[in-house]
């Protein structure tokens, strides 16, 4: 509100030659910049600072510098001798989280690409309706959707009842409280993030290229590989990142659908601030997660820049 008000007075009252453009731009950007500064950079400074402090016994921190939180990530003190020994406990949580996130991303891609292709090849008048349908689940809170999912896949849920009634199985198939449950939850939660960017890129795709390829005796597989995929690649990458990153840090799906039994990174961090009362280690875990995400993003950005350079 204040930003837009400032824009009209400043921008209109002082019409200078070249300056207003950049000033307008700055003013228009300022709400976003301020939001990022206040709600992203400030907490980030807190998190990084806390990760180098000493944990208080009952939560909180003592203002004593320490790198223990980062040491703890790779080494643990032996219960008997207090010697530092290498421990893959946390690495295994991170690698399992990464694996779950990759599985979710791949499944989303397998389901999402044909869906997006289908929507993009409908008549223009129908496309909005299809995109609209994709967003319908999002009208309901994520927590409620995840709990509902639990009701559906549990041992006494409708899926298992149907399978038993049909004679497919005599004992219920365990889906709730397993890694399968987590993957299902992640795919269901983030599928639209895959569909929408791919849809956007296929929608812009010039289908005459395809006709040309057919005319040149190309088969369908080659067309997909040599024409469709390269052109829609930015959409695929964007969709994959949008699924992978939130999956990596997801909290609700592993807690509810995984039964809280196998921690993912998000649960590990939450645990440090609650049950384990080790805020510095929780902060360090978050910093490490952010670093990993940043590295993944940089790799993609560089590849893209290289691809654009060719």
């Amino acid at each position: 509100m204040a930003g837009s008000l400032g824009l009209t007075t400043n921008g209109a009252v002082q019409p200078k030659a070249a300056a207003p453009i950049s000033r307008d731009r700055l003013l228009l950007l300022s709400p976003a910049l301020i939001a990022i500064l206040v709600f992203l950079v400030t907490p980030l400074i807190f998190i990084i600072t806390y990760s180098f402090l000493t944990p208080g016994t009952y939560g909180g921190v003592e203002w004593v510098f320490s790198t223990d939180a980062y040491v703890q990530f790779l080494f643990e003190r032996d219960l008997f001798t207090e010697d530092l020994v290498f421990s893959n406990a946390y690495l295994s949580i991170y690698s399992r989280s990464a694996l779950q996130a990759i599985v979710a991303t791949v499944i989303c891609l397998i389901i999402g690409f044909p869906t997006a292709y289908f929507i993009a090849t409908r008549p223009v008048s129908q496309r909005t309706a299809w995109v609209f349908l994709i967003t319908v689940p999002y009208w309901i809170n994520l927590l409620i959707r995840t709990v509902s999912m639990l009701f559906i896949i549990r041992d006494e849920g409708p899926i298992n009842h149907a399978l038993i009634a049909l004679g497919v199985t005599s004992e219920p198939i365990r889906m709730a409280y397993t890694d399968f449950g987590i993957a299902l939850g992640l795919v269901y939660s983030y599928l639209p993030f895959m569909v929408l960017p791919i849809y956007a890129s296929i929608e812009r795709f010039d289908f005459r290229l395809m006709e040309a390829a057919y005319d040149l005796y190309s088969d369908r597989w080659t067309i997909l590989r040599k024409i469709v995929l390269p052109i829609t690649k930015p959409g695929i990458i964007a969709g994959s990142l949008l699924v992978f990153i939130p999956s990596l840090g997801s909290f609700i799906a592993p807690d509810l659908l995984g039964g809280g039994k196998n921690l993912m990174i998000g649960n590990l961090i939450a645990l440090q601030f609650q049950g384990s009362r080790n805020w510095p280690f929780g902060s360090a875990s978050a910093v490490i997660l952010m670093t990993i995400v940043l590295i993944v993003l940089i790799i993609f950005a560089r590849r893209r820049a290289q691809a654009a350079g060719h």
């Binding site: 009952y58 643990e76 041992d155 196998n262 645990l271 609650q274 384990s276």
Partner: protein, 348 residues
């Protein structure tokens, strides 16, 4: 354009009217409660709200540790909370509680005398009892009909129960049960004992289904789990929904706990908070709470108001051969660090 503006104005007016009519803005005072999930019946909130003209809001948590971490993280604005016994002691030492001298309240006379000089708040300068009970586990007797009064059900389960066990997401309840099963003392910093405990838990986890506190009743009633750690009153509520559940009194021992109503440091509405404490000490209200939560009240004179299920319930009336439930005071910081490490190691 004007038509559109009119619509907006009308919508805004309706919204404003609704906000004004919705109660909170009209009441003279406010009270913000931070309580365990599913632990205070709406009828009591309404009754208090009406009697003292106070708008009541409530948020919930799922463990003493969550309560502590939220308050330590600087969450402000709550007036009263319901910490367990050992957590009251920690919160007093961390200066998170207001010393409101509940012993001066009018209805303090109804308190059970033996609950006044408790280890965590002797003389009751900070707290009054809310409900007390025990922590054990329940077994679905249609799945397993053998002897359930042993912690082996959790840590070395019979074949029929493997993979069907829900565990409370509570470091102390789980580790104390493990220490009892091994026959080692609580608040233990003996490395050999802890190593043994760690191995026991890690091996037992292979047979467990999930870690869940707020769904502890639901997971049993739905049949997802055939064994579930649970608090006695919550378990009784579960049994009333599913009759085949049975509360165990393991021979190795079980935890006794007492939740307490406290006023938080710098509470915005201290006077209303004290009124609420006084209100909850009245036998009729304490009984209404007990009929809902189904544990045991800390005041006398509730009997005439209690429902008949409570009088005979196994969950509230241990058999003669059951062990004496044991309160576990907070352990010293060194032990807490060990426990946290074992707990994290278990959950990874």
């Amino acid at each position: 354009m004007t038509g559109r503006l009119k619509t907006w104005a009308a919508a805004a007016a309706v919204g404003l009217g609704a906000a004004l009519a919705a109660g909170p803005a009209q009441a003279a005072g406010e009270l913000k409660i931070y309580n365990w999930f599913d632990y205070l019946p709406q009828e009591l909130i309404d009754k208090f709200s009406k009697k003292h003209d106070v708008a009541v809001t409530m948020d919930t948590y799922d463990s003493n540790e969550t309560l502590l971490s939220r308050l330590k993280a600087g969450v402000k604005g709550y007036d009263v909370a319901v910490p367990g016994d050992y957590m009251v002691q920690i919160m007093i030492s961390e200066e998170l509680l207001e010393r409101v001298e509940p012993n001066q309240l009018e209805n303090f006379k109804y308190m059970k005398k033996e609950l006044i000089d408790v280890y965590f708040d002797s003389g009751r300068h900070y707290s009054i009892p809310y409900q007390f009970g025990t922590t054990s586990f329940m077994v679905d007797t249609t799945v397993y009909d053998g002897d359930i009064n042993t912690l082996a059900i959790l840590f070395d389960p019979p074949e029929k129960l493997k993979g069907k066990i829900n565990i409370l997401k509570d470091v102390n309840d789980v580790l104390n049960a493990g220490l009892r099963y091994l026959g080692h003392p609580r608040c233990n910093d003996n490395p050999a004992h802890l190593k043994e405990l760690n191995d026991l838990l890690v091996n037992a986890k292979a047979n467990w289904l999930s870690f869940n506190s707020d769904g502890a009743k639901e997971v049993l009633v739905s049949g997802d789990a055939a064994v579930g750690m649970i608090w006695n009153g919550f378990g009784l509520r579960g049994r009333l929904e599913k009759g085949s559940l049975k509360y165990a009194y393991p021979k190795e021992g079980l935890t006794a706990w007492m939740d307490n109503l406290v006023v938080l440091k710098d509470a915005p509405n201290v006077e209303n908070a004290k009124k609420f404490l006084n209100f909850m000490l009245h036998p009729e209200n304490a009984a209404a709470l007990t009929n809902f939560a189904m544990y045991t009240a800390g005041v006398t004179g509730t009997e005439p108001y209690l429902t008949k299920e409570l009088a005979s319930a196994l969950e509230l009336n241990p058999p003669d051969d059951a062990p004496q439930p044991e309160f576990v005071p907070p352990c010293d910081p060194k032990v807490v660090k060990f426990y946290d490490r074992i707990w994290t190691n278990l959950l990874k």
